[in-house]
């Protein structure tokens, strides 16, 4: 029925089966929509956040998906500025995943703030000293850049490309893509950093506070570093998932291995920096603030295992897996390494958000725990479903993998 919209030579399932695939995601999206409506209409009391747990699931979600979406800028940078053309095979996926992550994060933020209609105040009354201002400016600009990078992919749709001028615009946009890749890298550098800076500057929250390097706390650099080490892995995993779901070979295996190794190299350097940072925090920062690291790891919920897990299982382990040239050529290793890396970066964002608020500051405060409400989960589910739906539509109607057709014929698919 929609054959005339699908790129010729690409094997896509029938429309009814595709709609059936979308159905569960649409239901999840509907859950998200209902939750968002309730929250906009009645206010944030539908969440389980409170005056102590000022941030919750949504901030963790925002931080995690923005970190994982870093593959979009980083692979763009590698492809267009460092001319590593092998990454072209997954670049369209990276752009769309990045677009999903950033637009999802912005929507979630809009739900998260108490007065969404005042969101523009962040521009109008910008407090240039706030890390959050920097984040707001940068992710808005970067979403614009991602949108511009998305346009050429859309214009290559079988139907759209026959529109007079579409190919011409696509061609000219594509020729200037290096500029957008450069701007995207610049913006991403700052907002990935500022997201870390958001926590590092909290001088009243010793769990999050970090010493400054220049005008930025160390978390500024650590967040950038961890985001770019997880970004390639995330794109690799997404590509693998798409290959598994569609039962098709879409990219050459060596591209996946290179993505994994790229993650491995970055992650191993990140872990060294993270360990050094933790040591300085425990030995210098905390005593200076009258605190002792031990007291942050004494609750039932956050024991010392948190730190241990982050540095070893989500740090050293995937780094050693992905650094090994032979292991990255074996899919199970690659999946394990990539998954641990991605989960690790999300876990890091989780710890920075939740444990910071959980641990007491004053001696008579209690450790607190928080569990998100149904509506908070709903928004999370909605964002996730939105991502799957947008990606599925793109995969069906756009030509995301330039090598797909050739790989189909050489592997004997039809």
């Amino acid at each position: 029925m929609d054959r005339h919209l699908i790129q010729r030579g690409l094997d896509r399932t029938t429309l009814p089966r595709f709609l059936l695939w979308l159905l569960p995601w649409l239901l999840l999206a509907a859950w998200g929509g209902t939750s968002a409506t309730q929250l906009f209409r009645d206010g944030l009391y539908h969440t389980n956040m409170d005056n102590r747990f000022a941030f919750g699931l949504w901030i963790i979600l925002d931080l995690a998906i923005i970190a994982l979406g870093a593959g979009a800028f980083f692979l763009g940078f590698m492809t267009y500025l460092l001319r590593r053309h092998e990454f072209k095979q997954v670049l369209n996926t990276a752009v769309i995943v990045g677009f999903v992550c950033y637009s999802g994060a912005i929507v979630t933020l809009a739900i998260d703030v108490g007065q969404p209609i005042r969101a523009w105040f962040a521009f109008w009354h910008a407090n240039v000293h706030s890390m959050l201002t920097e984040v707001t400016f940068c992710i808005t600009c970067y979403l614009l850049v991602l949108l511009i990078e998305y346009i050429p992919i859309v214009l290559k749709n079988r139907r759209l490309r026959t529109v007079p001028g579409a190919a011409v615009l696509e061609f000219n946009l594509h020729k200037l893509m290096v500029v957008f890749a450069g701007v995207g890298a610049f913006l991403s550098f700052f907002h990935q950093g500022s997201l870390g800076g958001m926590f590092g500057v909290l001088n009243g929250r010793p769990f999050a506070y970090r010493e400054g390097v220049g005008i930025w706390p160390t978390t500024f650099f650590l967040f950038i570093w961890s985001a770019i080490s997880a970004g390639p892995s995330f794109i690799m995993l997404i590509t693998m998932i798409v290959q598994a779901v569609t039962r098709k070979k879409l990219v050459d295996d060596f591209v996946l291995s290179r993505l994994g190794r790229l993650s491995g190299i970055l992650l191993s350097t990140y872990i060294i920096a993270k360990v050094a940072d933790t040591v300085v925090w425990i030995m210098v920062t905390l005593p200076g603030k009258g605190f002792d690291a031990a007291e942050f790891y004494r609750s039932d919920m956050f024991g010392a295992w948190v730190l241990f897990l982050e540095l070893t299982v989500f740090g050293l382990l995937p780094a050693t897996i992905l650094l090994n040239r032979r292991r990255v050529e074996k899919m199970p290793w690659l999946i394990a390494g990539g998954f641990l890396t991605c989960f690790g970066v999300a876990f890091n964002r989780f710890v920075f958000t939740l444990q910071t608020l959980s641990v007491p500051t004053m001696s008579f405060d209690r450790f607190m725990i928080y569990w998100p409400s149904q509506q908070e989960w709903g928004v999370l589910a909605g964002v996730f479903a939105y991502g799957v739906i947008l990606y599925s539509l793109s995969f069906r109607y756009l030509n995301l993998f330039p090598r797909e057709r050739e790989l189909q014929t050489t592997t004997g698919g039809n």
């Binding site: 944030l44 108490g114 005042r118 605190f291």
Partner: protein, 259 residues
């Protein structure tokens, strides 16, 4: 921003915990003065609104050594306030002429970053539309605007009263740069005179003298936020509640015995 005020006024508060009996009058007086709304009764714990939290703290020992104290905690109006520079919309501001950390509710967009930043949990969020129980609307103070749903609020050392004091001074023809004296609602209402309020820069004034007393302590002094609310107690264990948790347990810092 004007230069004249720079070093002449810094309002500060001293709370004598040995005088406080934990009656909560400051809390109520503050709510009435500042039109603090009353969330629905089914609201979760920690969703309430108050600018003057009265918190019960004990020494962690069993009877007969069990001791408790009530600590009234307003915004500490930190000199190095962690909440100012985080706000993306410039809704938290330091008034350099008074040292008061002001909150602009009509500009706040409710991101709650300032709440995460404040180590004293002195900031509260309007999780609900502002409501007052039947009859209580009649007590609303026309000098203070109530806050809408979805914004943060906190103690501002009774800005409404400061304004009135300034108007009075102007009406009396006193120069605009002369420091004005006023008393916030909590200090006025405390039946035991536990709360003293004034200009800490006033030479020979009561605040400066109290702040210098040996029984004075600050909450989390080592953080470097430099609160302008000082607490007093002759009890060593009470003075240690201002330390971080471990130091308090270990009996470090202030005083010889673990109490």
């Amino acid at each position: 921003m004007e230069t004249h005020s720079k070093a002449t006024v810094a309002y500060a508060m001293v709370i004598d915990l040995d005088k406080c009996v934990g009656c909560g009058t400051c809390n109520v007086a503050c709510a009435i003065e500042n039109n603090v709304s009353v969330p629905p009764s089914e609201a979760l714990e920690n969703r309430g609104l108050t600018w003057m939290r009265t918190q019960r703290v004990d020494n962690g020992k069993a009877w007969p050594d069990h001791r408790t104290v009530t600590v009234p905690i307003p915004c500490q109006h930190c000199e190095h306030a962690p909440c100012i520079h985080v706000c993306p919309v410039t809704a938290v501001q330091l008034d350099e002429s008074t040292g008061i950390i002001g909150q602009i509710p009509t500009r706040c967009m409710g991101c709650r970053y300032c709440m995460a930043a404040c180590p004293y949990h002195a900031r509260y969020f309007n999780w609900f539309d502002p409501t007052w129980p039947e009859g209580l609307q009649d007590t609303l103070n026309p000098d203070v605007a109530p806050r809408m749903r979805g914004v943060a609020e906190k103690c501002n050392f009774c800005h409404g009263r400061l304004d009135r004091a300034r108007e009075l001074a102007a009406a009396e023809g006193r120069p605009a740069d002369e420091p004005v004296h006023y008393t916030p609602a909590c200090a006025e209402a405390c039946p035991h005179g536990a709360i003293t309020f004034g200009n800490r820069l006033e030479e020979g004034g009561p605040i400066a003298a109290l702040e210098k007393k040996p029984e004075a302590f600050l909450l989390l002094e080592a953080l470097g936020t430099a609160p302008k609310v000082t607490y007093l107690s002759r009890e060593p264990w009470i003075r240690r509640i201002g330390l971080s948790r471990l130091d308090r347990v270990r009996g470090h810092g202030d005083g010889p015995e673990g109490a």
